[in-house]
Symmetry: C2
Subunit: 333 residues, 2 copies
């Protein structure tokens, strides 16, 4: 998966620009403690994948000239992303994020709820000042707000699915479209709109962003079971012990024969499952074809995403969009 | 405090319209549990004082014709108000609201955080569709978002002040302007802008809304110590036992002589203070002039608010705005 030679320098430069713009966006406030809590996650260096996606789409459609007016929207999405992290960490009682104490752990839960709310609001202050004409402004306010509400629905489904064993593939796909893919969808859609893309381009890139996000999550489910433990950031098989309703677990329900089923059941949802039991369950998921089924879905996302890019004129930034697809859906860790 | 004869019918009719519009605004969503949690507070009948303020200002400036296009903004403010209640009840661990179980008590904390976030977002969906020209749309998105962020700052100060005994009057006024008055300020400002008020009218009604909110809070502090316990909804003297840094407690610090100080200190911040100790502390606050000082401040708010209304043309809705001032700042319970 070689990157185009221009990719890394372009990515590094944009991440620096986003870092600076995020920092500049979080200066205001009369309560020092709240401001510090608001800045905790956004100023910790991150991959900035959502804003980078928005910026790369904008450049691919409108050239370098549209970058300055697109960046505030990219930053708004990064603030929304960080606000959801602050609140998710309270909901999940996660104490560490990016190697730092979680906001609710470093301050307290009240401050973390407040800081998330304030980051959420700050994103709409940035959107209010976008240099776009009225119809685009309305659309970006309306759809970004709907996105936040729907991410909440996705998060709610994710929590509810933990207590269920009968989640369907359609329910799973709805959940990951809302919880994970919507931010990439709006990054691509917003970037294209601000860059002045045609209706056809906006529709194609909206679908592209969604496909990118869905492919990312399916690839994540696959890697959770198959990645090299030396390079993968999470524990291999954690989804098995946690009885996570992934596309693989859902596909396996229909594919396992009874002997496979009992071997799988020994580890699935068993937080005390031994490494050997988890490996045996993963073997079952290979043998019954569930992992291959998910990999085929991910490959389909890659193919769909590449064909949606026909709406984008050739050039270095289109190449970067193609590379993003590979980076998201063909990654090995 | 007799209301103008048109006030009660006008208020009742508008509350019905707001109730219906709030219900209509909370229909969408793919997650039934989240939608139910979002609807819990907003659909419980409330006083709708913020949306009524926005609607009355709009009618006073632009006549009945502007009501339909103002109402979505009034509803957006009501959703913001309710989102802050959902989150505040988590922060304060309050289990009951409007006689109902709090959202986090009826569902769980994760659902309540999510429901508040979704109500917050829903408000901006409504604002995106306001029938106003671009400059007003931008202003309303930007300033409503800033309001939410600043309400969070006010809430943060309120929590921090609980651990302090040296809050200044300026700090107190900043806190109540952010935590309480801003919503009324934006209700009046937004209503005036949507109704097409002149710059002078917008500025006057912005100041009027702020004064209304500040006066309301100061009156609340006074009533907490002086109201008739048979009609006041809260416990008389709770601010004393809770060591609340109200304008009265702050004024008293400079006014009490040493013998008064020790009598006051026996009850202030003493959650086990006897009713007699609390009454003695309230007597001190009367004797040293702190309660009268706060009442004079509240009277000044009434005078300021009435003189700001010179910007509004005479008529029944102006009379209703005058009555709102009396209702907020001269109420006895």
């Amino acid at each position: 998966m070689d990157a185009p030679p221009t990719f890394e320098p372009s990515y590094a430069a944009e991440v620096s620009a986003i870092d600076a713009a995020v920092e500049a966006a979080l200066q205001e406030g009369t309560n020092p403690r709240l401001l510090e809590a608001m800045r905790h996650y956004p100023l910790a260096k991150g991959k900035r994948l959502r804003p980078f996606t928005a910026m790369t789409v904008a450049r691919a459609i409108g050239g370098e000239g549209v970058a300055p007016r697109t960046r505030p929207y990219a930053v708004a999405l990064e603030l929304v992303h960080n606000f959801t992290l602050v609140h998710d960490d309270i909901m999940d009682q996660d104490l560490v994020r990016k190697g730092l104490p979680a906001v609710h752990a470093k301050w307290d839960e009240a401050t973390a709820i407040n800081a998330g709310d304030a980051l959420h609001a700050r994103a709409f202050e940035l959107i209010a000042d976008l240099q776009v004409a009225e119809p685009s402004l309305r659309l970006l306010v309306r759809e970004t707000a709907a996105m936040v509400r729907q991410i909440g629905e996705g998060q709610q489904f994710d929590v509810e699915f933990e207590r269920r064993r009968d989640v369907s593939e359609a329910e799973y796909l709805h959940m990951i479209e809302y919880k994970t893919a919507l931010m990439y969808k709006m990054a691509a859609r917003g970037g294209c709109i601000i860059a002045g893309g045609s209706t056809a381009q906006v529709e194609a890139l909206t679908a592209w962003g969604n496909t990118l996000g869905v492919g990312f999550q399916i690839r994540d489910d696959v890697l959770n079971l198959t990645a090299d433990p030396r390079t993968f950031q999470k524990e291999i098989g954690a989804d098995i012990r946690g009885a996570k309703q992934t596309i693989i677990a859902i596909a396996a329900r229909e594919r396992m024969d009874p002997s496979q089923g009992s071997s799988f059941a020994a580890a699935f949802g068993n937080s005390a499952a031994t490494p050997a039991q988890v490996r045996a369950a993963i073997d079952v998921l290979h043998q019954c074809g569930a992992i291959e089924y998910a990999q085929a879905k991910a490959r389909q996302c890659v193919a769909d995403a590449h064909s949606l890019l026909v709406a984008v004129p050739p050039g270095v930034h289109k190449d970067h969009l193609s590379h993003l697809v590979r980076l998201f859906v063909e990654r090995t860790h």
